[in-house]
């Protein structure tokens, strides 16, 4: 995409601070940059999605035409009549929910300890979870798969759950830890002071205050796990086929374009939830929390 306009930083910066002087000239330049960025991004970001959405509702779409010649829903029926899809979709949902639940059970107590308890090596152990991001991911999956191979975990549900759990750790520990740390201790002390037991303080004071962060962590973990394809591919095949893994074969070996488009659209639903909540997730800094930033 036109590197000329985007690649050179100075022209856009130029005007942003100079304010009054040369403001007219810079305003044009600034808006020029924004306008060009908008058009290019719209083309490149929305273009691919445009194709998918239209293909999902196309009965017939022959080259060259900007829109399908015939719209219709007949492929939807055929798509969901396929046994592999009908099986993989609910399985994927249950799998993602299971992994999220296990992750929460494992990680939430840990995050509470990281936030609220004093112990030697606390900071170091908390940082050690960054290691989940510090490896080239697919190499790591192969390494894990080799071990699972010897343990006969390839193609088993526990194998897939384990490999997907690894990806959830950082997010499920760091977001809640920050949230628990954010609860001012004197708010809890004030509750103790009026006679609440420690358990009640946790349930009625601490928990409501960390709830937004915890729900964000759960939601993001669910969605990320739902779309996790690579670990499941390496460890799950041939017996365990999640929906994203099925997509590989739909893309690679399916002559009917509509199947892939329809499945893509259906698969996109969880992301849509994130998109709707995007502002809140962004404001809480949750969207980048999985990367440690």
């Amino acid at each position: 995409m036109s590197a000329q306009q985007l690649a050179v930083p100075p022209p856009p910066i130029d005007g942003f601070w100079s304010g009054t002087r040369r403001s007219f000239q810079t305003m044009i330049r600034r808006n020029g940059f924004g306008l060009i960025a908008l058009v290019l991004l719209a083309l490149v970001i929305l273009g691919p999605l445009y194709s998918v959405v239209l293909w999902a509702f196309a009965e017939r779409w022959q080259y060259p035409s900007l829109i399908p010649q015939v719209f219709g829903l007949s492929f939807w029926e055929r798509t969901f009549a396929r046994a592999d899809i009908a099986e993989a979709l609910p399985f994927s949902i249950v799998l993602a929910a299971t992994v999220t639940l296990i992750s929460a059970v494992i990680c939430l107590p840990a995050s509470y300890a990281f936030a609220r308890m004093k112990f030697r090596g606390r900071q170091l152990l908390l940082l050690s979870f960054l290691a989940t991001n510090a490896f080239p991911r697919f190499g790591l999956y192969i390494s894990i798969a080799v071990i699972f191979f010897r343990l006969n975990l390839i193609g088993t549900l526990p194998g897939v759950i384990l490999i997907q759990l690894v990806n959830t750790l950082l997010l499920m520990i760091w977001i809640p830890t920050a949230a628990f740390q954010g609860v001012d201790r004197s708010l809890e002390e004030a509750a103790l002071d009026v006679g609440a037991s420690p358990l009640r303080v946790f349930v009625q004071i601490t928990l409501p205050m960390v709830m937004p962060a915890l729900s964000a962590a759960l939601l993001l973990t669910f969605v990320n796990t739902f779309y996790e394809a690579q670990g499941a591919l390496v460890v799950g095949l041939p017996r365990i086929v999640t929906m994203p893994v099925l997509m590989y074969s739909l893309i690679n070996s399916q002559l009917i374009v509509q199947y892939g488009a329809i499945v893509s659209l259906v698969l996109w639903a969880p992301s849509l939830i994130l998109l709707i909540l995007a502002q809140r997730l962004l404001r809480g800094g949750y969207l980048t929390a999985g990367f440690g930033v």
Binding site: Y50, F119, S271
Partner: protein
Amino acid sequence: MTAAAPPQSSPSWRKGIIAYLMVAPPLLLMILLIFIPALQSTARTLTIDVNGEPGFSISRYTAFFQDPISVSNLFFTFQVTLITLAAIFILCFPLAIYLRFATGKLAGAVQVLALFPLFVPGIILAYALIRFLGTRGTLDNVLSIVGFTGYRTPYLKPDAIIFGLVWESIPFTVLVLTAGLRQISDSLIESARDVGANSWQIFWRIILPQIARPVLIVFSLNFLGIFGSYTIPYLLGPAAPQMMGVFMQQTFGQYRRPDDAETQAVITFIICAFIGFLYVRTVATQRKREESE
């Protein structure tokens, strides 16, 4: 400090144990699924069977580097990684600077578009890009309607991989860079302007040093992400040369040669070790600084 409290050491000691028990499950999971596989793979690739006894050998690595296909795949992975990284920075830096300093509806729209890929999972993206970039895809379609008929698709060529990887990386990069830029106060820039610095000097001398950390984080995470990628290169890239992720999966899943796949994985570990370390260290120092504030 904890050591010098003899009278009440027993309850705090017990508390320490509870804390360790709470952080143990995710920690164990990480050790079992990241550190042990990585270390064990490294160890196994350096040993061979000498009359039933394990002995040290680098023969697996010499084999890798003597195989022209392996070497060309590794070289190809490097090439794609570096070009993609360069493209990401060339696109995202101006975007981030624009978003940091511009206000209004146009900037808002640009931001929404730039962040949109965050909500498109990789597997759906791959499908969408095939429909968009492929022969007789949307792009081809649009171009032919405006009268341009010489479209040559990048699909199944390295360009498509780079396009897809850049597409995926834009939101995270823009988010982190913009957040970093927001840390620089307007007054800092204005005072530099006041003493006579031009835009270019401001960028190099004031802005860049201040966002060194976000830049390092973005660089290292994108490097690791691209080097360890699978879905995009597998679905959009050529059959040869392959990126390491695709190569490993083929070796492991198709050719059923886990030992060779393991060697390939360890080679990616070694290449990425420094980058992974850089990532962990950068995030760690940033966290420490934030905590001390």
